[in-house]
Symmetry: C2
Subunit: 150 residues, 2 copies
DNA sequence: CAATCGGGGTTCCCTCAAGGAACTGAGGTT
DNA sequence: AACCTCAGTTCCTTGAGGGAACCCCGATTG
């Protein structure tokens, strides 16, 4: 956890960071999403300290992003995405797109996505859920909402 | 900086985290986006340690996400988003949407966005840039790309 | 022209989280 | 009985975040 607590801020970005803003958390979600769901798999793939992995997994479970469930008679557990967690993966896809565009360099993107609906390798695009036109940072003005700080 | 260096990983998520994954960085970008562009403004609004703010601003400038420029004859500077940085704000919009949905609670979203194209308060939607259909975590399969690790 | 002010940082110390390696415990297998 | 695997836990060291004080520079004020 960051030393400063972001969860009380009247800002959805800050609150989201309180859930997945700690180091490793997004990478853990990515791994769980692609099927690396067990403690040993995660630890081996990421090279993360076992102590920190335990802390992150507990926090993600507490936040309702992952669910811990047994997969054997023996005390063996795997972590799976909840609906709340799956929607966070959308965020990872947008993060991926930015990294592909600005950081991948010559070699190109390390991972591609095939879209089920059309069967093509494709990228994600941000659109307005009202009019369907592209919606980016420069296409909007922020205004105070109902949950704004007093 | 996180203790482990993510920038060498063959993963656009990890590389992106290396740019904005440190505590406070996304909140700094948000503030700059809404017009809080000066050191004192950022420090006051966020309540961040001046030391850490300096480190973060330097890192974001080094990464080409922010540009530092004088706004006076006196040694006064402001930080503005580059194109690379503005595209990161797209990521923040998606983060906001998730936080609004899962963490805002009774009070509702703290901030709303008015879309220039249609003039309405609207949210952002993820679509396939090939077929235009919705594109979420469960609608795609990841496959190795050209920049995949050997 | 000394004193003050405000913006933009630097320096210092303290605490706590990340890294890393060793250890534990429960339940199988040989 | 000895050993193996998975899933953690414990302990120590290092270094990043928090916080307060300090510094530099140019402009304004008495």
């Amino acid at each position: 956890m960051q030393r400063t607590d972001f969860s009380r801020m009247a800002c959805s970005i800050a609150r989201t960071l309180d859930v997945i803003g700690e180091p490793w958390s997004p990478l853990i979600l990515r791994d769980v999403w692609v099927g690396l769901t067990r403690f040993e798999q995660l630890q081996g793939d990421l090279g993360i300290s076992r102590k920190v992995l335990t802390e992150r997994l507990n926090h993600l479970v507490d936040q309702g992003v992952l669910e811990r469930r047994p997969y054997d008679q023996r005390p063996r557990y795997e972590y799976v995405l909840t609906e709340k967690g799956a929607e966070l993966v959308d965020l990872l896809m947008v993060m991926t797109r930015w990294g592909d565009r600005w950081l991948a360099g010559e070699a190109g993107p390390p991972v591609l996505y095939r879209h089920h609906a059309c069967g093509e390798v494709a990228g994600v695009d941000l659109r307005c859920d009202h009019c369907g036109e592209p919606m980016h940072a420069n296409d909007v003005d922020p205004l105070p909402g109902p949950g704004a700080a007093r």
